[in-house]
């Protein structure tokens, strides 16, 4: 299995993407922002299509779109809550509708760029769309894989850097704000970071399946333990397990797409954790 170069590339990129997804996903679940993560994963689609329509590298469009949308969700969601009570549960609930409407326009833009692309260049639009929606981890070149791994490591380091204040602000937003933690800035920073992770993971599992890697391992970890360090480690480990298991399974079974295998394992882990406790 390791003799094939595409497999080594996939494992290299997949390993760090899974770790970044698991760790940042733990915060996503803690903050009740799974829907926001879902929205970000869908931004990837028009982002990549816009880049393709403009004729530039699709990764530029991907990262630009997800980071901008992440920052916008962070700013808009919290900003809308200034007058409400600061409990994180109701905060997330109010975000719900805002994200839902942003969503529709995002998908609408996706259609727009798809039309633009299919009218400007003959063909290629469907393949581009399929790559973005479902990812193609086995199609990564050596350079692409190294770049993806590097960006994922940077995202992990950034998460580690803001982990302590972010944890504080997520669990006790009021107390954290009173203690001088800049909660608003933190939530925007985290959402932008989430945008980076979403763009990363889109390359591996695709925009539509990204949620499986982001939410399922982290939700499983939250079911098993409430301790932050153990939970973060477990979320990372479960995401990694899903990635390695999925890649191996997809290598062994040619009819099984790798992104499906990864997500199926991640979701099974979540349901196993539900049954376990």
């Amino acid at each position: 299995m390791f003799s094939a170069e595409f497999m080594r590339n996939a494992l290299l990129a997949g390993t760090f993407i899974a770790l970044a997804c698991g760790v940042s996903g733990w915060f996503v679940v803690l903050r009740g922002q799974v829907f926001a993560g879902d929205a970000l994963s869908h931004v990837a689609f028009p982002g990549a299509l816009a880049a393709a329509a403009a004729g530039i590298d699709q990764r530029i469009g991907l990262f630009a779109a997800t980071i901008a949308a992440g920052a916008a969700i962070g700013a808009l969601g919290r900003g809308a809550l200034a007058g409400r009570d600061g409990r994180s549960a109701s905060a997330s609930a109010a975000e719900d509708t805002a994200i839902g409407t942003v969503f529709t326009v995002i998908l609408g833009l996706g259609v727009f760029f798809l039309t633009l692309l299919s009218t400007s260049s003959a063909g290629g639009a469907g393949i581009q769309g399929a790559r973005t929606l479902f990812g193609s981890v086995f199609g990564l070149g050596a350079g692409e894989a190294r770049l993806a791994a590097g960006v994922a490591i940077a995202a992990l380091l950034l998460t580690a850097a803001i982990a302590r204040p972010l944890l504080f602000a997520s669990v006790f937003p009021d107390v954290a704000a009173a203690r001088g933690v800049r909660t608003r800035l933190l939530s925007i920073a985290f959402a932008a970071l989430l945008g980076v992770v979403a763009a990363e993971a889109t390359q591996a599992v695709g925009a539509l399946l990204l949620l499986g890697l982001l939410a399922a391992p982290a939700a499983a970890a939250h079911r098993v333990t409430a301790a932050p360090l153990a939970g973060l480690a477990l979320a990372g480990a479960l995401a990694l397990g899903a990635m390695w298991g999925g890649l191996t399974l997809a290598y062994a079974l040619p009819w099984l797409p790798p992104s499906t295998a990864v997500v199926l394992i991640a979701v099974s882990l979540y349901y196993a954790a539900l049954g376990w406790r």
Binding site: A82, T101, V111, F112, L133, A219, H222, L256
Partner: protein, 308 residues
């Protein structure tokens, strides 16, 4: 979309423009189908937005993808796949809703896992079927301009059934949505209500998205209802505003797309988003005015959060 190479031209004569649009049977059908979906999605979506179940609604709408691809793989009518997956999805999400009180983050994580599972299965079905992704676009974005008379009739029937079912559930559901603790204490089956609403939402989405596309249904579920609820908290006027905004958005979007090369779905989603933004701005302006009138002492300031 354009029927002749030169294309219809839009002028300042509104009557001429509208009659030009109505000249074609497919446009009349598109306007009628869009109107039916707007009314049904507006009413069901109003309850969905009130219950903060937008994520669940989105997930159920996504069920169309594994539904359609699974049905294609098995060679059964697509409708079976839609209904099977939407029903199963509603049950899987509803397991965590209602009486057994779960935290918000846990419920949304569960919804996310359900969606990931459904999409992964959908992708598996597509690749087993032979990887025809041309269908995906029509599943997501639909083809409102190709609605036949029979489809229109079926759509109207489903929408009417959904609205009647919602009306039957409306009063207890409203009570349970606004104050689930009090409703449970009064003996209402909160969890059963919650699952039946999700099932209704799923079936309504499944039935309509076959014709108009998932995205359009979802846009019409969320945006008009969210705008209306930002404007007023009273149920009946807000329901009325929802339906009116939905109709406006659909018909305006279809009308503009008739005179342009871009698809109707794009205009409908962009207009609904603009409507939502305007409603939010209007509500903010209203709130600011009433705050300025109120005595300064009662104004809630930042960082004055008293432990409750």
């Amino acid at each position: 979309m354009r029927t002749e190479p030169t294309g219809p031209t839009i002028g300042w004569d509104v009557v001429r423009d509208v009659s030009q649009v109505l000249e074609y049977h497919f446009m009349v059908n598109a306007l009628l189908a869009g109107g039916v979906v707007a009314v049904m999605a507006g009413l069901v979506g109003w309850m969905m937005v009130l219950r903060r179940e937008t994520f669940a609604g989105h997930t159920l709408a996504m069920m169309a993808f594994p539904g359609a691809s699974g049905a294609a793989l098995l060679g059964v009518p697509a409708a079976w796949g839609y209904f099977a997956f939407c029903g199963a999805g509603a049950l899987a999400i509803g397991r965590f809703a209602g009486a057994e009180r779960r935290s918000w983050s846990e419920r949304s994580a569960n919804t996310g896992a359900v969606q990931a599972l459904a999409l992964a299965m959908g992708f598996l079905f597509v690749s087993l079927y032979g990887g025809v992704l041309g269908d995906l676009e029509s599943v997501l974005f639909g083809n409102l301009l190709g609605v036949s008379d029979t489809q229109l009739l079926g759509l109207t029937g489903v929408a009417a059934a959904a609205v009647v079912a919602l009306a039957a559930l409306a009063r207890p559901l409203l009570f349970a949505s606004v104050d689930s603790d009090a409703a449970a204490a009064r003996g209402l089956p909160v969890q059963a209500l919650s699952i039946s609403f999700l099932a209704l939402l799923g079936l309504a989405v499944a039935a309509t998205s076959q014709i108009t596309g998932v995205m359009l249904v979802f846009a019409l579920l969320v945006a008009p209802a969210a705008s209306a609820q930002a404007l007023t908290a009273r149920p009946l006027p807000s329901l009325g505003i929802t339906v009116a905004l939905g109709l406006l958005v659909v018909w305006l979007g279809l009308g503009i797309s008739y005179y342009s090369v871009y698809p109707a779905g794009f205009f409908i989603t962009v207009i609904s988003f603009a409507v939502y933004l305007l409603a939010r701005l209007f509500a903010m302006a209203l709130a600011r005015r009433s705050r300025e009138r109120a005595p300064a002492a009662s104004r809630p300031g930042p960082r004055r959060g008293v432990i409750s």
